[in-house]
Symmetry: C2
Subunit: 179 residues, 2 copies
């Protein structure tokens, strides 16, 4: 199973692709960030990030997409942009019929490091260890996206397959309705 993790953000949106070969065995496929210039209008910033996410989906063809669940209690100054990017990311995946899973930061910490209260450095160290990397991917958004993908692999094997089957069944039903 190949998972694309997305850490939504308007200035930097983390993107990380991980291949799982069963259990805790997994490997890095790609990691990076989509960026948008802060002086562009919001619609064009979202479009730039969306275009990059589309390109990653087309290039890496993941079986599932894991997106960080955004809460309105977060940083009020940036939460709207973060929520908007998460919406764009989810639609990009749904348009391709891919199952989308949302994981909270606590769920990611717990799945990756064993503790929901782990700090960022501990989670990043586990990302390096699980993927057998030489160093922590930078910026932090890139490492966070890998943590999301790893979380999805560790939490979600069976659940993802059920979700994928349900999504496929709904897509078939929808096509039936349109036909």
């Amino acid at each position: 199973m190949r998972v694309l993790g997305i850490d939504p953000g308007l200035t930097r949106c983390g993107l990380g692709v991980v291949d799982s070969s069963g259990g805790r065995a997994m490997s890095l496929v790609a990691v990076g960030v989509a960026r948008s210039a802060t002086d562009l209008p919001i619609a064009e910033r979202l479009h730039a990030i969306g275009t990059e996410i589309d390109a990653w989906l087309d290039l890496h063809r993941p079986d599932a997409v894991a997106v960080e669940r955004v809460f309105s209690q977060h940083n009020v100054r940036t939460v709207m942009g973060t929520a908007q990017v998460s919406g764009v990311a989810m639609v990009a995946a749904a348009r391709r019929g891919l199952p989308v899973a949302l994981h909270t930061p606590s769920e990611v910490k717990a799945a990756v490091s064993g503790s929901g209260r782990a700090d960022k450095a501990q989670v990043a160290a586990m990302v390096v260890r699980l993927l057998r990397l030489d160093a922590t991917p930078k910026p932090a958004d890139a490492s966070d996206a890998l943590a999301l993908a790893i979380c999805h692999v560790l939490r979600g094997g069976a659940q993802s397959r059920i979700d994928a089957a349900l999504a496929a069944a709904r897509a078939t039903r929808r096509q039936g309705t349109l036909a």
Copy 2:
């Protein structure tokens, strides 16, 4: 100038298209709501609303899109979904090279009714009057979307033309970069 107003929402997303023929002269082209079933996963709900917005853009070919600006101070239970839909709406417009304007609820009230503190009924009554309708469009989201489009016409004639010119210039630059 033809404007599509979008009142973002996950359960009901208001859509209203208005033609302006200069000054306060304008007419209704279409009004309605995009809906998504509350029992679907969030990604599929966003995809359903996004597909409907795409269909309205393709059918009505507006010159500009006006979206309600979402604030994080709003209803915390629904604000995330509203922000996500607004992101999907903005990208749908930006993908077509259309200028996107954001208007706050106060700006809409002030532009349509003359007072930023007008209540919903007063704004709805002005929508009926300005578009010479027989009755207030239902549900309220549909009427709110028309108010957004009207606000854009009344506030934004000159500004929209500037924004459209800038967006076109940026699109040309972008194509130059890609070529």
